[in-house]
Assembly symmetry: C2
Homo-oligomer: 203 residues x 2
Amino acid sequence: MDFATLIEQRASANQFDAAREVADATLTELLRLATLAPSAFNAQNRRFVVARSQEAKQRLLRHANGQDKVVHAAATVIVVGRLAPHATLAAALQPSVEAGLVSADLQATFVHYATEMYGDQPQIQRDEAIRSASLSAMTLMLAAEGAGLASCPMIGFDAAGVHREFGLGDDEIAVMLVAIGHAAAGNWPQKPRLPLTEVLAWQ
Amino acid sequence: MDFATLIEQRASANQFDAAREVADATLTELLRLATLAPSAFNAQNRRFVVARSQEAKQRLLRHANGQDKVVHAAATVIVVGRLAPHATLAAALQPSVEAGLVSADLQATFVHYATEMYGDQPQIQRDEAIRSASLSAMTLMLAAEGAGLASCPMIGFDAAGVHREFGLGDDEIAVMLVAIGHAAAGNWPQKPRLPLTEVLAWQ
């Protein structure tokens, strides 16, 4: 299958087959692929909390407006965005320095610019956390599709409740949930989009 | 190539080959695929302004901190997020109603819930605009990779300047730029990421 077909056939699943397992190794591989999404300065200002056990999924359900797909899915991933990306940028770039791709000087320069851009700018930090987490969430959903699994992005949850329940840090926000599992019967196909002429302008 | 390999080989390109063209039809197809990314309620609260002509790319460059990849790329897409998704949701769902996938009653119910969620909530509207635009931007970058093209996501630009220069609406924000074209020599490979153990937690 070519990649265009994969994008075309991905649809947000509401019905998951709770009886069909997904191996931890498969989920780990999908999440590894999600980390390969880009982020500004390669700051990687996001992480993934996986509601995997029945107990964790039930806790998540209590903050997810009763949407039981978070329980029926093999796992529901809380995609977490991190504020203050400049504060952890040096560490995030350290593997690039060690690989010889980025010099220590360039690492310091990136930290300087990132601090100028984000320091004392809570709205810009929040924007970046959402952007970075969303880029990885989309990669996760397409990776799942590529592995023959269904997914569902969810924003209908109590962010404060999830934050508390899953122990997120002060500098973290729950950006979205992504349920992953085997699809059951009864899902919608991908819904049609607006005509391209309405969303595309050339200059 | 399997899709995992495609995700692994995508890297943000800084060097584009300005001499190699990309057909309008190719860009249009990539942007069509980008519209297939999910959005809350299928609100499709985003659109794409393509800086395609030399003149438009030069105008964009003036607001992009001198990053000349916006000019060397075949096109640089301004990925625009739209606020107040509830206001345009009925229209966004109309193709789903006409396809018989969503009843008029369900369309009205979605509009009701979306109005509850977003109405008079400027921060939540902004969050959603960034999330929705970012999901489509990631799909666009992977679609480009799948078509043998390089891309670069960019957040280092003057959002107010781009807004004014490209005539965005009051309810719109420029979420990110995505430069697309043929890669030239001299690009970094994908930079390494933090170890999975640092960004992945199971519950």
